[in-house]
Structure formats: C-alpha cells, structure tokens
Symmetry: C2
Amino acid sequence: MPQDGRPLRPLDETEEVLVRALGEVMTGLPRVVDADMVRDARLPLSEYTALMLLSEAPRRRMRMSELAVAGNLSLSGMTRVVARLEKQGFIERARCEEDLRGWNAVLTDDGFARLEEAWPAHLASIRRHVLDKLAGHDLAALAAALRQVETRL
Amino acid sequence: MPQDGRPLRPLDETEEVLVRALGEVMTGLPRVVDADMVRDARLPLSEYTALMLLSEAPRRRMRMSELAVAGNLSLSGMTRVVARLEKQGFIERARCEEDLRGWNAVLTDDGFARLEEAWPAHLASIRRHVLDKLAGHDLAALAAALRQVETRL
DNA sequence: CAAAAGTACTTGCACCGTCAAGTAAATAAT
DNA sequence: ATTATTTACTTGACGGTGCAAGTACTTTTG
C-alpha cells in the first residue's frame, strides 16, 4: 500500500533526474556485468557472488539462509545456484551439526580455484563499466549514499 | 576478454566499498521496486516503464527498437512486454508507414489511464526505498555520477 | 532490375529466479 | 510425552528475459 498519510509529493527536477539515472543503472548494470562474466569467465554473476561470499566466510562455509541473505537472493533461488555449483564440484553440502534441518554450503578447493580464475573478469568488468567512468567523482560519498538505499525484501 | 594491457590493479579500500554497495543496490533494488509495483499496482516494473516511456513520446507511440533501447531491454524482451500490454488493451500496434518492417507501439487511452492509476505506487516505492533514505546527501552529484555508469549492452 | 545483403521484428528454446507447497527437524504447548 | 507450531530448506510450477534462428521488408550491388 502506498502509505497515504501525506499526499505523495511528486518528484522535483533533481529527484527526477536521479531516479532516471538510478533506474538505468539498476536495470542495466546487472545485465552488463553478468554478460561480461559469462563471456569472459563462463561464470554467471550469481554463481560468482556465491563463491566469493563463501571464500570470505569462516571455514569457507555458510548456512543456506545466511548465504541467500548475503547474496540478496531468495532462499529457493540460492538453493538452485548452489545446486548448479555443486554439480560442477565447486561447492559441497554438509548437514549442519547443531541443527539438523540446516545445510552448509562449503567451498571446495576446486571452487576456490575457479574463483581465483574468475575474479579478474569481474574486476575488469567493474572497472570498465563503473570505476573508469567515475573518475573525478567522490567515490566515498557515492558509496555512503548507496549504502543508505533499501534493497532487502 | 579482460583487455590485459595493464595488469588490472586490484580495488583499493574505497573502491571495494563502493563496488559492494553498488552490487547490493543493483541486485536488490529492482526486485524490491518490482515487488512493490506488483503488490500495490498489479503492474510489473517492466510494463510500467514501457507505458511511461510511451506516454512521454510524441503521439504516444514508439518503434519497438526505440522502446527497447529506452527501456533497457533486448528487442525480444520488449516484444514480450508489449505483447502482454496489448493483450490487456493498454497498447495497440500499428505498422510503421514509412518502413513496413517496423511496428509502432501505441499507448491507448486505457493504457494512459492505467499509467495514471499506477504511478503513485511507483512514486511511493521510490520515495520509500531511495529518496527518503538519501536525506542529507547531494542528490545532484549522485545523479551526475550514476549517469556516467555504462549500462548498455 | 534481379540477386544479395542488411534491417526490423518475432518466435522457439533454454536458463534463471520467484512463489507456493511439501518435507524434515526443532521447539512450544498441553 | 504427544501433539501443534515454527523453522530450514527443497521442489514443482510458472513467468520473464536473452540468444539464435526465422520471417518479412528494404537497400545495395552488379
């Protein structure tokens, strides 16, 4: 429901421009980066992200639900990403000892190697489409602003 | 190909933070806004965007290819969006007179009404998730930065 | 002006992600 | 303790999007 306490002030000029720009970025950038990853590293962005998150986690493992939240996917979505990675041998699954309902996704050595192989493509993509274009802008301020934006369901 | 002239300098701290924040926003925000639109206006974001673009176009019509570019979708993706909207009576299709290969998507009166009905939900969603959170930030600078980012395939 | 090449769009197929329903285990209630 | 409820995750059905191939028209070329 459009919480109608106040009468929904329309966008002013500045806001309008920002919203358009943000719309562009939010619909276009994921596709562009994902396309780069698939082309240059044969690894979709969603899978790359999962591997990366695991590589940074203690003991290179995470509960499915944690991983889903961290990767900004639904739990079922993450189940499928992990299933694909498991089939390729990059992840193994281990029942969670302290709660038998739960599963850990565990990064294998092959998975770690795959990640090391893939990250340059990700870095290059981000540099090409984002950082190179932002020369002269205040990156810290931009990051601070973006971190305020609400992105969780 | 990760164009390897230079050896791909890794991200510094500031860049790292920015890239994470941008990743969050770019994967999360479209889902959040789309979910709002579906829930509050029963109109997915992609369809809303198409209607909006048409409403601003001269004679409320656009060539399919124009519309695809403007909406940041592939041509085939836009074909399907338009097909859905046509089925609901919000868009009609008219052969392009000066080039019989081409089609115009034309916003109908029903479509315009639908858009007027739906935009408050979009506005509310954007205010809620984005603009409200950005109080105190320099919106113009943010917009200028985002507009530099490359988002076209 | 006929044939070849290019352009505008659509369609078949495959993939990915969501929701809703299902399973299994933990926790709460009686 | 048994049952009911909640939690963690998986699976089935579905919708949306891209790519590649197909169709129809246009432009170029010899």
